[in-house]
Subunit: 348 residues, 2 copies
DNA sequence: TGCAGGCTTGTAAGCGCTTACATAGACGGA
DNA sequence: TCCGTCTATGTAAGCGCTTACAAGCCTGCA
């Protein structure tokens, strides 16, 4: 009914109180469900609320209760399925707690630090993904508001959640060695992100406890799909090139694979390729890409949950929470084709 | 320095004023840049702000100025590259306007309508994507706050932005007809979303002005990748089946294509397949998937921009803003393979 | 009938910020 | 020297909500 006709002041708790014939305190009590109220009055108030289509202003409430009921999620970018899944998970958990989620993408902000600081002033806590803010900035932030680090190392005063990396990297590498591969290269820049660093660590660990060749220097390229051609060129330039490539993520693996195949290299016969993330494309290409699946949705949920715990009083966890990952064996590693695995029973 | 030691009250504009030896009004003026202030005082205030690491509480400001500097983005889900791109674009534009973006995913809310209403109370306006709220709810919302409809039909009182659909559907269909296809089927549920409905409209329009067969009923399946097998079964069950499939999106096209290929059907020789969205997989599969690229990032930017204009006073635009799309011809339609098109010069 | 104690409701004091308005200097011209 | 004008600053009134506290009412018991 009484929607904001031009000139009419928007409906507030005062309008409701007036219409219901009670004080604003009573309206507030009815709406919060705090304090005792008679059924009679409650009905009147609810009726008035409905008639006026009243929704309390959040800012007024936030100011009064000193709480925003909102969480901030800070990521570097949103490209690829990685962040979609993560964000879905995050939002789903936050929603259950009645928390809004405000997202800022630092990659497209000219002054990320300022943006995050500003964000901090409108949320009760925030989650910082990797490549967003340097550690010291994060630590400083952690002193003024609850902070959860996502997919990056914990800093003092902040919680951390992430998916397992080193162990699965090790398994993946050992799997390739078991396939008889001996000249394995890592593709990706370990300096680029904590995730990649961990993966590289697992990779070297597996190699050094095997009879495979000493580790070649990692082929350092950035994360993106674009880099495949560069990698392929470098690989083929080698006189005694690699017989297996462990790529830091699927985009890299796929574009490298495609570039290699186009140049006549057989995958996996001449060279095996594996990646990370289990993106949709991984199960559509031929050969299917062996990769590592991360529980992204769950990771998002975990981050939101942990942050909420912190906000509501839980202490900083002494240890980071690390979610297990899952090897997805297709045939780019040398395994036989198995159709079943490619049935998309799960949407990634 | 003076970060919140336990027991210390958090720093407010009062602390700053006190430290700087001025009144809170002056602090506010310096920080806003409104009103004249002497260089002397300005320096003192700024120094105090820095010393105390003061950041104004947003809720207090929002309450005072009756503005949130935040926009709400309401989507049904976030799966697939569609929403990542869109969200990136949205966030980038909103950030430039100094607006935060709060996102709610209705698909995982038990009471979407309530969630959105609540959202409305903490933002200055919102963008509603399709499949989130019914039109009448949207219209009601539009009466109390600026609303922009995204990829769905305008309703009175709301703006609308979307990507072109019917025209490109028509071109795509005509392209298939030019390849000699005569028994074209549409795959997807036109009732499911306004986008699909438009595409279907373009599809039928192209058919009816050609000598191609009358349109078979659309093969109605939902959007997701899972449906491919069903479609393939249905297609192959036909005695005189289709020689071309226009799929409502790439996920559908790709999974159908894979299922068909696995059953020995040759694409595009036996049957051509085309889709929508130009997802990453489209350029990695063989044959490359012919599809329609939507300017998702731009669409996101446009939505944010339009909403911001509305919030800052612009009237509702009489016409929806429609962004052009682009046919991406690969070989699943019958065109010869062209490698160049597959170079990922753009990340989608 | 009077009164203690339990419910329900109202009153009013914030929450931290912005901003209209009042005030106090500083300056220049008569 | 006095007064009108500006300019820089302070004062205080909100913004809409929550919540501690006060107050009023009703009940049951002595």
């Amino acid at each position: 009914m009484a929607t904001s006709e031009p000139g009419t002041r928007p409906t507030t708790i005062y309008s409701v109180a007036q219409l219901a014939g009670v004080s604003i305190a009573t309206v507030s009590r009815v709406l919060q469900g705090t304090g005792a109220t008679s059924a009679q009055v409650r009905a009147q108030v609810l009726q008035a609320v409905e008639d006026l289509e009243y929704v309390p202003r959040r800012s007024a409430r936030s100011l009064a209760v000193q709480r925003h009921d909102a969480q901030g999620l800070v990521v570097h970018d949103l490209t690829g399925p990685y962040y979609s899944e993560l964000l879905m998970g995050y939002e789903s958990a936050a929603g259950e707690f009645g928390q809004s989620v405000i997202i800022v993408v630092t990659g497209q902000r000219e002054d990320p630090e300022r943006s995050v600081l500003e964000l901090a002033s409108r949320v009760d806590g925030l989650v910082l993904a990797n490549s967003t803010l340097p550690d010291d900035a994060a630590r400083a932030l952690g002193r003024r508001t609850p902070v959860v680090m996502l997919a990056r190392a914990a800093v003092p005063g902040c919680d951390a959640v992430s998916a397992e990396n080193a162990q699965s990297a090790r398994e993946l590498t050992e799997h390739l060695i078991a396939h008889g591969r001996r000249r394995l290269f890592f593709v990706g820049d370990p300096e680029g992100s904590p995730d990649v660093q961990e993966r590289y660590r697992g990779f070297t660990a597996a190699l050094s406890s095997s009879d495979a060749s000493a580790v070649g220097p990692a082929i350092r390229v950035d994360f993106r799909e674009l880099s495949g051609a560069k990698v392929a060129a470098q690989v083929m330039g080698h006189s005694n090139g690699p017989d297996a490539l462990v790529c830091a993520n699927d985009e890299l693996a796929l574009s490298t694979m495609k570039a290699l195949q186009r140049a006549g290299v057989k995958v996996p016969d001449d060279i095996a390729i594996v990646g990370w993330d289990d993106v949709m494309t991984a199960r559509y290409v031929s050969p299917g890409l062996t990769t590592v699946r991360q529980p992204l949705f769950e990771l998002g949920r975990l981050a939101a949950t942990r942050l909420h715990e912190r906000i509501t009083g839980a202490p900083v966890a002494p240890e980071p929470r690390i979610l297990p990952t899952e090897l997805v064996l297709r045939s780019s590693c040398g395994c036989p084709e198995t159709d079943d695995r490619d049935v998309p029973w799960v949407t990634s």
